[in-house]
Amino acid sequence: MAEAKTTEKKIPVLATQAVENDNLKAEIRRLKSEGYRLVTLTCVDLDEEHVDLLYSFDKDLEMVHLRMQQPKSTPAPSISDILFGAFLVENEIQDQFGICFDGLVLNFENYLYLEEEVARTPFCKYSVIRKDAQ
């Protein structure tokens, strides 16, 4: 699982399968048809421009992770129309990282957790300008 890197110590890396914006939904559908269920999404702040979106799936306690690099300025495709359970976590990422999701079934529009006073992007190390989701 963990691949060795040329440092003095092994750095564990998560085994992931890379996906792009365009084939994300197809991959999700494939996993769903194979009987995987969504565990969660994880958003990791990479730099000023990008975040990583990790989609974690599970089948009989075996996990599969998809990794998608997502520019902060463009909306990511929402998978909540395929897996309703994803709506909450996508809303959470909207709140914390300011990423917008296209086609969220229940969109709290960046105010799932936050009130106006703090409605910035608290989880980004590099601040971005929040766009109102459509």
Partner: protein, 358 residues
């Protein structure tokens, strides 16, 4: 037809925690339920920028006060795997014992609150009375009743003496016998069944597709328990995941009742098999790379994601708690039930909003 719209929460006596539901009801039948969160949101995942990864143990313990030990265990377990630290076997066993004790007290607490949700105060009081024994064990062995703070990186902070083990065993006997005296009330009482059977139906398919976790999933007939991943000492202990097939509130309460007895048994097994040796090892260096960890909380599967960058502050810590996964199934269960059953159904997923929002 005219509708009644009710703000259910954030402050509501039947929900111990602040969650808001905008309920639309007609003749007390719920036609629409929109949840609103954010009343407990603290943003504590972000604290990893300020607190180092040792401090974060205390922070993640306070994600949820009811299963604090298990959060800390998951956190330590994940980081230890990332940093390739081998935890001594006694520490593994002790972690198992305390985590199962937490499950016992959490399930007793839940059974009580559930009874309270349908207005059975006497049962609520009796269950909480039993629970006090577990709390006493916690306090006597760790120094605190609720947030026990026994986990450290590389092991645990407290050890159990032989005398304590004997006392715990005898207390557990009492807990078990007192709980069994209530068994017929929890499982067979006419009024209890009237209020729970068939309420909040979640089919097997729904539960799977919506990503339900823990007893909510197992109550719908899917035998998935993260303890089968054999973390801590679970590889040496014997247990079978508890499954019920009806998918209603009654099935979920049955799962939790049987799990309580199962956990008492697991504690007993672990205490009998408890190996000798060190209780912790010193952890050096800082976490680097990525990793995940999953353990079974009383409410279901807990998932941690770590990303380290070689400093003592983690770069990203992500906690997915079981209630977070159970909110979408809850949203699916609410429409169509009676207003009087809203607390019952909401409680039947054992919501821990403080986990959900972190």
């Amino acid at each position: 037809m005219a509708k009644t719209i009710i703000p259910f929460g954030p402050q509501h006596p039947v929900l111990p925690e602040p969650i808001h539901l905008s309920l639309t009801v007609e003749d007390e039948i719920v036609t629409q339920a929109v949840p609103a969160l954010g009343y407990v949101h603290r943003g504590l995942e972000k604290l990893c920028d300020i607190r180092d990864y040792h401090h974060m143990i205390q922070v993640v313990e306070r994600v949820c006060g009811i299963c604090s030990k298990i959060h800390a265990m998951c956190y330590c377990h994940g980081l230890e795997e990332m940093m390739q630290v081998e935890v001594p076997p006694r520490a593994k066993y002790l972690r198992t014992i305390w985590s199962e004790l937490h499950r016992v007290h959490s399930h007793l607490l839940w059974l009580g609150l559930f009874a309270d949700g349908f207005g059975f105060e006497a049962l609520f009081y009796q269950l909480w009375k039993i629970r006090e024994r577990v709390m006493d064990i916690n306090e006597a062995t760790t120094g605190n009743r609720v947030i026990v703070s026994v986990n450290v990186m590389g092991g645990v902070r407290k050890d159990l003496s032989l005398e304590q083990i004997r006392w715990i065993l005898s207390e557990l006997e009492l807990v078990e016998s007192e709980l069994k005296a209530l068994e017929s009330t929890i499982l067979d009482d006419y009024t209890v069944k009237e209020r729970t059977v068939g309420k909040g139906m979640l089919t097997k398919e729904q539960a799977y597709d919506l990503g339900a976790a823990g007893p909510t999933l197992r109550g719908s007939g899917i035998a998935q328990d993260c303890r089968q991943l054999n973390y801590a000492a679970f590889s040496d202990l014997e247990f079978e995941p508890v499954v019920e097939y009806d998918g209603d509130s009654y099935a979920r309460s049955k799962v939790r009742y049987r799990e309580t007895l199962q956990s008492i048994d697991l504690v007993r097994q672990a205490l009998h098999k408890l190996p000798d040796g060190e209780i912790n090892v010193k952890v050096k260096g800082n976490p680097e790379g990525e990793g995940v960890a999953r353990v079974e909380q009383p409410r279901g599967e807990l998932f941690y994601y770590f990303k380290g960058n070689g400093t003592k502050h983690l770069e990203r810590l992500r906690i997915r708690t079981p209630t977070f996964a159970n909110i979408p199934p809850l949203a699916a269960m609410l429409p169509g039930i009676e207003l009087a059953d809203v607390p019952v159904v909401v409680l039947s997923i054992d919501p821990c909003i403080s986990c959900t929002e972190r």
